[in-house]
Amino acid sequence: MKVAVFVTCLNDTMFPGTGTAVVRLLRRLGVDVEFPTGQTCCGQMHVNTGYVAEAVPIVRTFVDAFAGYDAVVAPSGSCVASVRHQHQLVAHRSGDTRLAREVATLSPRVYELSEFLVDVLGVVDVGAYFPHRVTLHPTCHSRRLLGVGDRPERLLHAVRGLTLVDLPEAEECCGFGGTFALKNPDVSVAMGSDKARHVREAGAEVLVAGDNSCLMHIGGLLTRERAGIRAMHLAEVLASTEPGA
């Protein structure tokens, strides 16, 4: 099986540690993951802000980069949801029937990390070690658009040393929302500070999620408050191993 990582533009540019964690994790599980260097972005920011025409060339770049792979895995529920639910719309709007056909065959082969691990590889215990108290923010797009369900929890439960504590009102949106965070900064922060309060109430050292966009928002509020709680991507927790292992 030829597997590619879609690292996403945000992780590529701002959070490369998440991308390298995906590579380490998948190699450890015997998957020789490749990074097609032509890749850029899923185009969600453009679609969700109303710039569908501007998203067309981005979707085309995505299809060109990944068409030759059996499976594409991305450390972002939100970007995968965009691929699965929006690329068809963008292709349709472009009037390019070839693009529409390519999107239709590629989209179902694109997986969010926890889906890929649990459904494609069939593993729950990935051999990770992470001796910390962790709470999980189940991101809206992973939960509502992809339906990842309890896959992230199951993966975390199997990590040695890790204590998973409940996050109050976990299913509430953190308020990031892409350009919503900039177009409606006051509401976004009001939502985020309630989320940050719940994270503090959970009594965890580490906040984990499957999307660095949400984490950048909640984490930015937590560090501003000097809360002493780290925000970490699920991939980085799952990639962690015992020193010397």
Partner: protein, 496 residues
């Protein structure tokens, strides 16, 4: 004193900022939405075939919307056969004119009203007042809003932003000016407040010759109108006066009584979190010797046919005004309804208002499709499966397209630039070379604190991460995908 109006409200982000600072309202809304949210989840969870009911509700409405011309003609002839007079209104002013004419023909200077969203939409009360006719709201929450010269902030509980001590003050101050005053020793006990409202309203019920209502449903094959309410005030209005005028949006049709069965299960559980609705009134034209002897039905378009013409947006016409989407919305919970500048607030308002009013005409309307983080909680609870996030994104595209050709703003230029960068990996890599340099410069600071505009939109309240020294792409190229890197790409930064 003319009734409060939504006209001239500022765009959502501005109105929201003001609302967020209202601590009393924040507390009231949080309590109210969380209580009703839990109640709804409880009673919906009991219904094993809830998903099938939702699909059935959506299918019935889609059938109606797809064959609206035929159903409307059927409704008109059933109503006429049952003794009702049918009027057609293209827009708000036509509908208001019809009601005013009927009131004048009966020489009345007042009407009693059943709670109705559509009369709020067409601002009937203001139109009646301008014609010298008082419109008395008889729903408890609508009465609170009207007496307080306030605007509604919720579809189902329009005074949700008020608590009981505020209600007591409003009753004491205002009731005497327009009718029977509240007793001077009125307490803020809910039963006491309801008693004061009941006594105040009773004289209006008994005196009124003309009543105005909306309708939750209009059954096409029998010509029956249905009003679903919780207080019994609706039934008073629908039975006591001699003349009844009902304003009905053309999308309110259901084909038959059998179809009502689906909605009378979906609606109370979704809206008040009740298993069954307390007062369900149905009437079919005129019943000789019983109830109003002159029955008028105004079938209203007011933008609905243009919503119907929108392939993606037309699903909003399935809405049965339950307000479940408001109660679960994290944005609504914090801003309240008045920030949406419309009688239809919350997620459904953010799609319905711009479609009814038209996009590209004013900044406030165009801001509404952006008043959402697209979390999807609304779609999850909608009893008629309106994919609100899908319609929001669709309308954002329409907003952007409506402004194409005008002077591009900052966002438009940023989006064009970002599209150019993100279409080609080499361009993205060039950008990352710049962020890498800034990462080396800023690296020691760890986090980026408050910055000047426009970056302050992020950094006023949130730290921003410092860019890494090396992008993932750079690491992959330098280390041959980590094969030449023993440390396997720990970038030395922890956390976000």
């Amino acid at each position: 004193m003319s009734p409060a109006t939504f006209l001239g409200m500022p765009p959502f982000p501005v109105a929201a900022r003001e609302a967020l600072a209202n601590s009393q309202q924040r507390g009231n809304l949080r309590n109210a939405t969380h209580t009703i949210r839990a109640k709804r989840a409880g009673v919906v969870g009991e219904v094993e075939d809830w998903e099938q009911l939702r699909r059935a509700g959506a299918a019935i409405k889609d059938d109606v919307l797809g064959n609206l011309d035929g159903y409307l003609e059927q409704l008109e002839s059933s109503l006429t056969l049952a003794g009702a007079t049918v009027h057609w209104a293209r827009d708000a002013s036509e509908a208001n004119r019809i009601v005013i004419d009927i009131a004048r023909r009966h020489h009345v200077d007042e009407v009693v009203k059943v709670k109705s969203m559509v009369t709020g939409e067409i601002e009937l009360n203001a139109a009646l007042e301008a014609a010298g006719i008082s419109a008395w709201e008889t729903d408890l929450a609508e009465l609170i809003v009207q007496l307080g010269d306030d605007l509604p902030s919720h579809i189902l509980v329009p005074a949700i932003h008020r608590n009981r001590s505020e209600v007591r003050e409003i009753f004491l101050r205002e009731m005497g000016k327009v009718g029977k005053p509240a007793e001077v020793d009125l307490t803020d006990d809910p039963a006491d407040l309801a008693g004061a409202a009941r006594r105040h309203l009773r004289e209006k019920f008994l005196r009124a010759k003309v009543a105005v209502s909306g309708a939750n449903f209009a059954v096409a094959d029998t010509g029956t109108l249905v009003v679903v309410e919780s207080e019994g005030n609706g039934r008073m209005c629908l039975t006591l006066p001699e003349v009844l005028v009902s304003i009905v949006g053309i999308e309110k049709i259901v084909p038959t009584w059998t179809d009502l069965e689906v909605f009378l299960q979906l609606l109370p559980r979704s809206s008040t979190g009740e298993r069954m609705n307390p007062y369900t009134s149905t009437w079919t034209g005129v019943t000789p010797g019983d109830g109003p002897q002159e029955v008028h039905v105004v079938l209203l378009d007011n933008g609905r046919t243009s919503v119907l013409a929108d392939e993606v947006g037309r699903q909003a016409l399935r809405c049965i005004r339950c307000s479940a989407c408001l109660n679960v919305c994290p944005v609504y919970e914090r801003t309240g309804g008045r920030a949406y500048g419309s009688v239809y607030p919350g997620p459904i308002g953010a799609i319905l208002t711009p479609m009814l009013r038209g996009i590209g005409t004013d900044a406030a309307t165009d801001s509404l499709p952006y008043a959402s983080s697209l979390c999807g909680a609304c779609f999850e609870v909608c009893p008629v499966l309106i994919d609100i996030p899908e319609v929001l994104v669709h309308l954002r595209e329409k907003v952007v397209d409506a402004h194409r050709g005008r002077m591009p703003g900052t966002v438009a230029m940023a989006m064009t630039g970002a599209s150019w960068l993100l279409t080609n990996a080499r361009r993205l890599a060039a950008l990352q070379a710049v962020t890498g340099v800034s990462g080396r410069v800023l690296g020691r600071r760890g986090r980026i604190g408050p910055m000047p505009a426009p970056l302050n939109r992020w950094t006023d309240a949130r730290d921003a991460p410092t860019p890494p020294r090396e992008s993932f792409r750079g690491w992959w190229a330098r280390t041959d995908g980590g094969r030449g890197d023993r440390g396997a790409g720990r970038d030395g930064r922890e956390g976000r």
